[in-house]
């Protein structure tokens, strides 16, 4: 099969070799999580939810109590793949991807600032069309930022492949299963360092360098998109945080209005004050964006009920 049209140079889905699929990021999709995000790369769609930092649930799991324990579970929905088949939970592939995502996120989380605590990252694949682990890492980055967890950098991930003697950016399922090489890269965007790198199938050394370079470029593009997402989210949050604002005003797609719907102005006000009472979050490095005013949701501090009462 021809994955790149020799005449036009277009790929099976009409993209150019170095063109990425449509990206979409949405913060705050899971109402009760401490941080959550949806991330789409074309038809690949994943949700990440972050719970924590919270008390360590199973003390035996914490190896080093001076650092936060980061955990991750990757799960695919029953309907996420084209042919529907029930797979046992925790198969070898999911276990490996969970490990990979966990260690990639750990590279950016400032775990030493949260001793004796635990951060759970859950990623759920809703639709799989190639590059699920990349999409999961991008979603997890957004969700961690949404949860207000201090990070040293933005981690983003993208894949690239090599088919028909052409390096291709951001493979879809069809291209991924073509048997060619598949290189998944995860970078720390501002430091310009590679933290995740996985590849398979044979590739000569210099070709590999080109393909990896393309994937890194993809990661950088995603990083700037994710930053945009965070900025818009922050802007909306700063609007919400002013108690005099009309909170019923419809917010744009990148808001997290889900949890706002039932919150009284008083609750918002108290939450806002509550934030000021908390110690300022410490952010190392240049990512000022991560200082988000939304570090605790009203649901997690139901004490405001008592206040009204």
């Amino acid at each position: 099969m021809e994955y790149v049209n020799p005449l036009t140079g277009f790929r099976v889905d009409g993209r150019r070799p170095n063109e990425m699929r449509q990206l979409k990021g949405e913060v705050g999709v899971v109402a009760r999580a401490d941080g959550s995000a949806l991330f789409e790369m074309g038809n690949t769609r994943v949700i990440a939810a972050v719970y924590g930092p919270r008390e360590v649930q199973n003390k035996g799991q914490q190896v080093n109590s001076n650092e936060a324990l980061v955990r991750c579970e990757y799960r695919m929905a029953e309907f996420s793949t084209g042919d529907r088949r029930r797979k046992p939970k925790g198969d070898r592939r999911s276990t490996e991807i969970s490990l990979v995502i966990r260690q990639t996120m750990e590279a950016s989380i400032l775990t030493h600032l949260m001793p004796r605590s635990q951060i759970d990252i859950y990623v759920q694949v809703l639709q799989a069309d190639g590059g699920t682990r990349s999409a999961c890492i991008n979603a997890a980055t957004l969700a961690l930022a949404d949860a207000g967890i201090p990070m040293r950098d933005i981690v983003t991930s993208c894949s690239a492949g090599y088919l028909c003697s052409t390096p291709l950016l951001d493979l879809n399922y069809l291209e991924d299963s073509a048997g060619g090489s598949d290189v998944t890269v995860g970078i720390l965007a501002k430091m310009d360092k590679v933290t995740l790198l996985q590849m398979d199938a044979k590739l000569p050394m210099d070709t590999f360098e080109n393909v990896m370079g393309l994937a890194i470029e993809g990661c950088k593009a995603i990083a700037s998109y994710i930053q945009e997402c965070m900025q818009i989210n922050d802007l909306n949050l700063s609007k919400i945080a002013v108690p005099t604002m009309d909170i019923t005003q419809p917010l744009k797609s990148l808001t997290c209005c889900g949890w706002m719907a039932f919150v009284h102005c008083i609750a918002v006000h108290r939450n806002f004050l509550g934030l000021l009472e908390r110690p300022m979050e410490y952010v190392e490095g240049p990512v000022g964006l991560l200082l988000s005013p939304k570090s605790r949701r009203p649901q997690n501090s139901p004490s405001h009920f008592v206040g009204i009462w």
């Binding site: 038809n43 649930q57 579970e73 996420s80 008592v306």
Partner: protein, 287 residues
Amino acid sequence: MVGLSEGEKHFIRGGITQDLRTDGRKRLQFRALSVQTGVIPQANGSARVRLGATEIIASVKAELGKPSILHPDKGKVSIFVDCSPTAEPMFEGRGSEELSAELSVSLQRCLLGGKSGAGAAIDLSSLIVVEGKVCWDLYIDGLVVSSDGNLLDALAAAIKVALSDTGIPKVNVSVNAASDEEPEVDVSDEEFLQFDTSSVPVIITLTKVGRHYIVDANSEEESQMSSAVSVSVNRHGQICGLTKRGGAGLDPSVIFDMISVAKHVSQQFISLLDSEIAAAEAEEAEC
């Protein structure tokens, strides 16, 4: 995971007694409902339903299969529920299996009818392509993405929406004289058949807290329940299923009362759901 202080518990119970719940609702009022269809393009039909902070994604996939020998004139439908750990850290690993199984069974009871398939929400004989040879297997999957109580009602609503969104490809069977041979089927990419979903019931769960019962309880309220009755009602006001959970005993007269209330509430809920489905489909068509 709900950790409530004594004051909060008191507040919840007191509010229910006074017909003013913690989020400002009345006892028989649902949370805001939002419906989106076609969220999973790979599926034949899909829906996302949000009920307050509870969020469900339901998908319907149709595959060609063989009807069972016992019922050669009927297709097959199966329902599975999965609770994602994104909804609750407790659901991590195998932690969700018990709840998922319980929800699956409840939904199967309400929607699949008896063993023979009689009384199922979907007319199973409409799934047949060639009698005794080819039929559609419908796989209905519910995924709990976010959980804040009342999962069963939200799941049933999501499945109802997903089914109404479902288009089954039209199948052309080439007439083959020799009946022993496998019939040749040609699945159309363009023509789709819609289900008649008018008889698909909704589930209304009445949660008893103290002396009163409420609809659409959130997880804080659920933690205070003594018992709950889930009534599955279709458009014609007929009861399709009934489940009681929770240990506390109920007087039969209370149950009858609850059923009639559920029936009343369900009619409002169904019409609300219908208008949401229409709106969602119109929006999807626009996109």
